[in-house]
């Protein structure tokens, strides 16, 4: 399972991006998207295109966590969303690993995002393999809540200006840790 | 008892506040003397500005002498003459509070401390618009402080 996480400011500026892989079921926390060559911009494209649905959904649901809201089948990308009361949006794209059977295509070259070799890791019952299961939903909720807490603390720093890119290394570390813990 | 006058001196030896009260006829009932203030001070002759300097000189010398005799932590509390009683309180920041009363007055040390804590600190020091130092009494002569001092002296001490 690979993840792509984005925070959008209330004025639709992306202020934070991170890509990471699952750490559950023996995962090593490195993102391995199915189409590594295009993942970088495709992920952003997919995640931003779900904003329309966020807008539709946000008033129908009293909670901040909107759960799984969108799917983009060609890339097997599932989008979950979390809204802060101030209008910032946390969007998480998750992409389950390819089934071992279909893992014949030669993607392997790209070192950072590519390496598709170790796909045996995710068992079929894990969070990673079931992006829509209640367990996954719960795990993402925990993840989002933890990020929310860190986000608030970061936003409280006097040197952070609202709506600016979050460049804090502390925040990035915390997001990585939260990803490791829950996803 | 009657309060005659009250002075505050800052750490630069400057009088930053002075106030005199004429004894009201009612409060001095039974007291033979009816004219204002202690006769011994002769304030009719001297300008009141000199008064403050005189008072400061007195307490300053007295305090230094007391410390020479009794050690650095010693302080004098009051002295009495035939005509009046002078009460003295000094804060560790060297602000000196002096009050002159008639002879019947009990110790005013607590009262002076109260004036410092409840009036001076609250209404002068904590007033953000008042300067930190008060050359010529600037900042001390604000309405809140004056009024509360008036009340304190007339109601609490009377």
């Amino acid at each position: 399972m690979s993840y792509y996480f984005t925070i959008l400011s209330p004025t639709d500026t992306p202020i934070f991006n991170i890509a990471f892989g699952t750490s559950k079921s023996g995962g090593d926390g490195i993102a391995r998207f199915r189409f590594p060559d295009t993942a970088q911009y495709m992920n952003q494209f997919i995640i931003h295109s779900s904003l329309d649905i966020v807008e539709e959904t946000q008033w129908t649901n009293g909670g901040m966590y909107l759960k799984h809201i969108d799917t983009y089948p060609p890339a097997a990308a599932y989008i979950s969303a979390f809204l802060t009361p101030s209008g910032a949006r946390f969007l998480l794209l998750h992409q389950p690993p390819q089934l071992p059977a279909s893992n014949s295509s030669s993607l392997g070259a790209s070192s950072l995002l590519g390496a598709s070799g170790s796909t045996t890791r995710a068992s079929s019952s894990s969070i990673a393999a079931n992006p829509t299961s209640p367990q996954t939903e719960e795990a993402v909720r925990q993840f989002m809540n933890e990020i929310y807490e860190s986000y608030v603390k970061t936003a409280m720093s006097p040197f952070y200006k609202q709506g600016m890119e979050i460049r804090s290394p502390v925040f990035r570390t915390k997001v990585t840790a939260a990803g490791k813990k829950w996803l | 008892m009657t309060v005659y006058s009250f002075y505050i001196f800052d750490r630069h030896a400057e009088c930053i506040y002075k106030r005199r009260w004429l004894p009201r006829p009612t409060s001095v009932a039974g007291k033979p003397q009816t004219q204002g203030g202690p006769t011994g001070l002769g304030q009719t002759v001297r300008a009141s500005d000199d008064d403050a300097k005189l008072v400061f000189g007195t307490v300053f010398s007295l305090r230094n002498m007391v410390r020479k005799l009794g050690g650095d932590d010693d302080n004098f509390i009051s002295y009495t003459t035939n005509q009046y009683k002078l009460h003295y309180y000094e804060t560790p920041t060297n602000i000196k509070f002096v009050m002159l009363t008639d002879l019947k007055s009990p110790s005013m040390r607590i009262a002076l401390q109260q004036i410092y804590i409840n009036l001076f600190v609250e209404y002068v020091v904590k007033n953000p618009l008042s300067p930190v130092e008060h050359p010529g009494g600037v900042g001390v002569n604000n309405e809140l402080f004056e009024e509360s001092l008036e009340q304190f002296v007339t109601r609490v001490l009377a």
Partner: protein, 191 residues
Amino acid sequence: MSATKASRIGEEIWKTRIDKVNAELVTLTYGTIVAQLCQDYDSNYQDVNKQLDKMGYNIGMRLIEDFLAKSGVGRCANFRETADMIAKVGFKIFLNVAPTVTNWSSDNNQFSLIFDENPLADFVELPDDGRAQDELWFSNILCGVLRGSLEMVQMQIEAHFVSDVLRGDDTTEMRVSLVRYIEDEMPPEEE
């Protein structure tokens, strides 16, 4: 007066005589001031440090009166006692922290305050412009507060931070040195 007695006094005053205010309000207010100063001084952090110290100095000159009014303590017998008074009573009642007094110089004129916690710096991450980490002392106002308040009780001191967890140091440490005791001022000579 011993350090433990000072701690007791500080604790007692903190519990009974201090109006409490929301900690985030203080943190955000102070943070905003520093951030604004950084902006106003175009990220010249030396100037920001200086300005914070100056602001603290003005605060200290007033705060000491409030401190004395609330605590009712008298003059300290020596500088060691002063240090305990600052750490265990002063910081306790105004910031609800009690830094550790340590690293005394052999002549007893210099000591360090180690802050385990610093409410002014909660949430703070210094700007990542490559200079703030080396130049800005975020809590420098505290140095000024000590300088101002001790001057009012006839002690000229020098105070500066030597390390700060915000910069990635292990501790937050302030060094305080006694320069001299100030003599009483005499009234100006009459002409």
